[in-house]
């Protein structure tokens, strides 16, 4: 689990995965963990995978080729 957390972090999805062993007797801990995680996810914002629309290609990139200047 720690492994996956670290990998997701590397990928840019850090903090979105959490595992906690909670026994049935630990209701309070469950509430606390879920509340904290929910709050954390809210701060992180919506899942970027859902919103991913493909790469944004910047148009400022200079051409590395010597093309004809426009209008010349």
């Amino acid at each position: 689990m720690s492994f996956l957390q670290a990998l997701l972090d590397f990928m840019g999805l850090g903090g979105r995965l959490h595992l906690e062993w909670i026994s049935s007797a630990e209701a309070r801990k469950f509430v606390q963990v879920v509340t904290e995680f929910t709050a954390k996810i809210k701060v992180l914002g919506p899942n970027p995978i859902k919103g991913w629309q493909g790469p944004e290609i910047p148009d400022s990139l200079p051409s590395i080729f010597e093309g004809r200047a426009l209008g010349v």
Binding site: S2, F3, L4, A6, L7, L8, D9, F10, M11, G12, L13, G14, G15, S23, P48, I49, W52, G54, P55, E56, I57, P58, L61, P62, I64
Partner: protein, 268 residues
């Protein structure tokens, strides 16, 4: 006749091995080739060459059908690490393998780094702007913010054409049933591949296995920095489990649940 030829011939003749897997030049290209006792003069055509193929993967294939066969392999450090991993996963029997070692790759096992094979061309300006440069080290990739990292990796994964080349070339991929082809795990029939699941599933399966040979990235037609990704996987594995696939002996930490396993609840 060089020393390597002598050794291989001697091993074949003395029945130390039944088969030697090395390279032979065909039409100007070094290609993997089997050398056998029956055709012993062919050993003279055996070359070291700069070519790199997962020879041990071929050996594992031979072993699966001919477990009694003793196999010799031309092994660079990466081949050797891959062999070690295949031993750990019971895909090859170390008793059945003899290696002729040749130096080349930089590896955790040895200091020297005289392998020029993996020097990559520098990335183009657009890639350095929105993708991930293949030459980065994991630490260097960490300077980006989370959002930036996600964008960059997503760009790289977006390019994937699902050719499975990374898996097919991988010397330590041996499963008969591959999770990448599991329709419940990864969406089928569409390009781009499901981002980032496809590549993450593979990355997870590389944990405790990847020996950083870089063949996956060489094979990738989309130039995805897979090696960087799996290097990070290796670093995490080393950090969390103090395990380095291919150099540390012993079972992968990913197949061990702990020494004393009891699945009944332990009270107190």
């Amino acid at each position: 006749m060089n020393m390597m030829h002598e050794i291989v011939k001697e091993w074949l003749e003395q029945e130390k091995i039944d088969l030697f897997i090395g390279y032979k030049v065909v039409d100007g290209h070094p290609l993997p080739c089997f050398f056998t006792r029956e055709n012993i003069d062919d050993v003279d055509n055996l070359v070291e060459s700069k070519a790199r193929y997962p020879l041990e993967k071929i050996a594992a294939k031979v072993y699966s059908t001919h477990p009694e066969m003793k196999i010799g392999i031309l092994a660079r450090d990466c081949n050797q690490r891959a062999l070690n991993v295949l031993y750990v996963w019971n895909q090859l029997d170390p008793e059945k393998i003899e290696t002729v070692g040749i130096n080349c790759c930089p590896s955790p096992a040895r200091e020297h780094a005289d392998c020029s094979y993996l020097e990559r061309e520098p990335s183009g300006p657009l890639k350095t702007l929105i993708g991930i440069e293949n030459n980065l080290k994991p630490e260097q990739a960490e300077v980006y913010s989370q959002e930036e990292r996600f964008k960059r990796w997503s760009y790289e994964f977006e390019k994937c054409i699902k050719c499975y080349g990374c898996r097919n070339i991988c010397p330590v991929c041996f499963c008969k049933e591959c999770s990448l082809e599991h329709s419940d795990l990864i969406k089928k029939g569409e390009l781009p591949v499901e981002i980032p699941i496809f590549h993450l599933v593979r990355a997870v399966h590389m944990a405790g296995r990847c020996i950083d040979c870089g063949l996956c990235e060489d094979a990738c037609p989309a130039n995805i920095p897979l090696r960087l990704l799996y290097r990070e996987v290796n670093q995490i594995t080393a950090r969390l489990f103090d395990y380095r696939a291919g150099t540390d002996s012993g079972q992968s930490p990913f197949s061990i649940l702990g020494e004393n396993v009891t699945l009944e609840p332990m009270s107190l």
